[in-house]
């Protein structure tokens, strides 16, 4: 048995404690439904357990491996959902985001949650809400140059957080 294989129930419990939060977060993000997300996480650990001997820590981290499994589970659940009968009388099917975009989106959102409040605030106000630096500076009671500098350090912090999460683009 290779060391680090996910072959004992205790290994699965430890893997769950370490990674279930993130896996669930991504599952909710990509499936848009907490019930389906729970199903996806459960199925991910079950598949990981069945394939436990195939996990090789020399090749990649356990986290990366679990995310790869979850990605397949989400695709399968998405297919199952797509094959259900369409809603009658013109009901609108929810738009489904391509999965890789959903993963990137989740990574950016998770990285945003990890950076400092000051940095997140200026990025949200200036970029996502498109507000002028002068207005944001006044609201925060700081010089405009400080807003500009926070935007810069905010982007750098975001880059570090993305690397931590595993974004390798």
């Amino acid at each position: 048995m290779p060391p680090g294989a996910l072959s004992r129930e205790r290994d699965v419990r430890e893997a769950y404690a370490a990674h279930a939060g993130e896996l669930y977060g991504f599952a909710v993000r990509s499936l848009g439904d907490s019930g389906l997300a729970e199903e996806a996480v459960q199925e991910t650990f079950l598949r990981a357990w069945r394939a436990g001997e195939r996990f090789d820590p020399q090749i990649g981290s356990l986290r990366t491996w679990l995310f790869a499994i979850l990605r397949n589970v989400v695709i399968d659940l998405g297919r199952a959902r797509a094959s259900r009968p369409r809603l009658a009388d013109g009901g609108v099917e929810p738009a489904v985001e391509p999965l890789d975009d959903a993963l990137l989106a989740w990574q950016v959102e998770e990285a945003m949650r990890r950076i400092g409040e000051q940095h997140r605030r200026v990025l949200v106000e200036t970029y996502y809400r498109g507000r002028p630096y002068s207005e944001v500076a006044e609201e925060l009671g700081v010089p405009e140059g400080t807003v500009k500098s926070r935007v810069y350090y905010g982007l750098r912090a975001l880059r570090v957080a993305l690397e931590e999460i595993g974004y390798d683009g």
């Binding site: 279930a20 459960q42 989106a105 630096y133 975001l158 880059r159």
Partner: protein, 222 residues
């Protein structure tokens, strides 16, 4: 020093990457970038992050959703159930194979499912031959620090039959390993244990009603 000279420019790189710099400042910064490879590299790196930002939904920057506490228990229960099914399947698998094939299967399976703490002896799948028509018996013996764990699978006996299991050591001594009652339609697998080490187990026997069936363990050619 480069870092000192660039400091002022550096802090504009974020705004530039996000396309927020007024035209005049942008022109001045671009003139600096022409001659500064470090700042160009930094801008390129930040632009990579900036390109991802439109994908994100700022409404989701608050608290991350957390899995309900009960999910951990459900996952643990699913895995436990899977583990039990897997054991049962393995016993049946051993049963379905003939002696020689089983020896190969034991060697292959042992690579994957050798339980811890039992020395060097691999798990043994045992097939009982010469059974009455319609009857099946299979067993898997696992080595443990305490001795041997025995999974026995019976099918086709008369419902209510008392099944007594024993192991035999190399001297031919018979060591009782427990008993169970076979019920038709019930889970026909029993898990028993014996203090006899698997490496010292020569045979396993089971007495079903008034008939006794035995099968060799650790055959010399395995």
């Amino acid at each position: 020093m480069t870092a000192e000279r660039c400091r002022e420019w550096r802090e504009s790189l974020g705004a530039h990457a996000l396309g927020q710099l007024p035209a005049e400042e942008r022109a001045a910064l671009e003139a600096h970038l022409e001659g500064c490879a470090d700042c160009r590299a930094e801008l390129e790196s930040l632009a990579g992050v900036a390109r991802l930002m439109p994908l994100a939904d700022p409404e989701r920057f608050g608290t991350a959703p957390t899995p309900p506490p009960a999910l951990a228990d459900r996952v643990a229960a699913t895995i436990s159930a899977e583990r039990r099914t897997e054991r049962r399947r393995r016993v049946r698998f051993g049963l379905a194979l003939g002696g020689a094939t089983a020896a190969v299967a034991v060697a292959v399976l042992a690579l994957f499912i050798l339980p811890g703490g039992g020395g060097d002896t691999p798990e043994q799948h045992v097939s009982f031959n010469s059974l009455p028509p319609g009857m099946e018996i299979g067993a898997v013996l696992e080595p443990h620090a305490f001795g041997t764990e025995i999974h026995v699978y019976v099918k086709g006996a008369r419902s209510g039959s008392l099944c007594r299991v024993f192991l035999r050591d190399p001297s031919g001594n018979r060591l009782p390993a427990g008993s169970f009652r076979y019920r038709w339609g019930d889970d026909s697998q029993a898990i028993l244990s014996s203090a006899l080490d698997l490496s010292r187990t020569a045979a396993i026997g089971i007495r079903v009603g008034d008939r006794t069936f035995t099968a060799p363990v650790n055959p010399p050619d395995a």
